[in-house]
């Protein structure tokens, strides 16, 4: 049976966050990566315990929106060890080119109408997964579909695509089939579309949990026993 993960949920207040966690469970998700803001930052452990009671595993997510390459590298250096998932919103080509090939970045997010071309040059460098937040679709349907179809046609099957809700309230969350329908409309088959909210993010989180564990020495080297 598939395990579904919502890789981007934005939380600002504790109560609202709890409501969203219950909603995620109702919708059929088993885990979620949460971007913490405000009071939730300090109360993450409490939130995590509450979520486990409901049946949802929580992971911390950091979303960076740097304007220069230098800023991106600095933020990555400071934060990589503290979060399970790090995503970068690429507002310009300079940050997109760095984020696409840096192994400390998990997913890159191309905003709607980015102002640069996401072409084969960027796709060739891409080592990380591309994330499509559903909230962007709700905000600007036409613009998002145009950008997303460009991304899908350039990437083809080269790298993983992940769909997340990026919701900040329970009304902005959608169930896995609804999220997957976005990729199906863009030409993916059903299995691959569902992989984008189950297999791909599960793999990503497992890799990162391994990297954050005490036994991890370096890429390809683990301490056993």
């Amino acid at each position: 049976m598939r395990r579904y993960i919502d890789l981007w949920v934005r939380c600002e207040s504790f109560e609202r966050c709890l409501e969203m966690i219950r909603c995620l469970k109702r919708l059929g998700f088993s885990s979620a990566a949460i971007e913490l803001r405000g009071e939730c930052v300090e109360r993450f452990d409490h939130l995590k315990r509450e979520a486990e009671g409901v049946g949802i595993k929580l992971y911390r997510k950091l979303v960076l929106e740097p304007s220069t390459r230098k800023e991106l590298l600095k933020l990555l250096r400071e934060n990589r060890g503290k979060f399970e998932v790090i995503s970068v919103i690429c507002r310009n080509l300079e940050t997109a080119l760095v984020a696409a090939r840096d192994s400390r970045v998990d997913t890159i997010i191309i905003p709607v109408n980015p102002g640069y071309r996401f072409d084969k040059g960027v796709a060739a460098l891409l080592r990380n997964r591309v994330e499509l937040p559903f909230r962007y679709f709700l905000e600007d349907r036409g613009g998002f579909l145009r950008t997303a179809s460009e991304i899908v046609s350039v990437l083809g099957k080269k790298c993983g695509i992940i769909v997340s809700s990026a919701g900040s309230s329970s009304l902005e969350l959608r169930n896995p089939r609804q999220l997957a329908s976005l990729l199906q409309v863009l030409g993916f088959d059903e299995e691959r579309a569902l992989d984008s909210i189950s297999t791909e993010p599960v793999k990503l989180i497992e890799e990162n949990l391994m990297k954050l564990s005490k036994n991890y020495v370096m890429r390809g080297v683990m301490r056993i026993g």
């Binding site: 969350l173 329908s181 976005l182």
Partner: protein
């Protein structure tokens, strides 16, 4: 030999509760906005049953166009001028099963 067209029955509900007619209207206009009148016409879109006060409806479409219908339901963000979401309760191959799920939910 001509292939039989497969259909799917989608049970949708509104959150928070509004009338069933509003739900159907919102889904239909969202589908038209996303895929056009032609898209709507060839999708086999048909409202099978509306539970008026419960905000639940059963919509039928061809299996081939099911992702379009799901995306149309997901893209609804407002109902009667207020923030809302449309959830799918189940996707079924028979009307009997779809009705069962809808009535269990009520």
């Amino acid at each position: 030999m001509a292939k039989r067209l497969k259909r799917r029955y989608v049970v949708v509900m509104a959150e928070p509760k509004v009338s069933g007619e509003s739900v159907v209207k919102a889904v239909k206009s969202s589908y038209r906005e996303l895929f056009g009148s032609f898209g709507l016409a060839i999708s086999g879109f048909k409202v099978m049953k509306v539970y008026r006060d419960e905000g639940v409806a059963i919509i039928r479409c061809f299996l081939k166009h099911l992702p379009n219908l799901l995306l149309a339901t997901a893209s609804v963000t407002k109902l009667n001028g207020e923030d809302a979401a449309i959830r799918t309760l189940t996707i079924s191959g028979t009307m009997k099963k779809a009705k069962e799920v809808a009535e269990n939910y009520l």
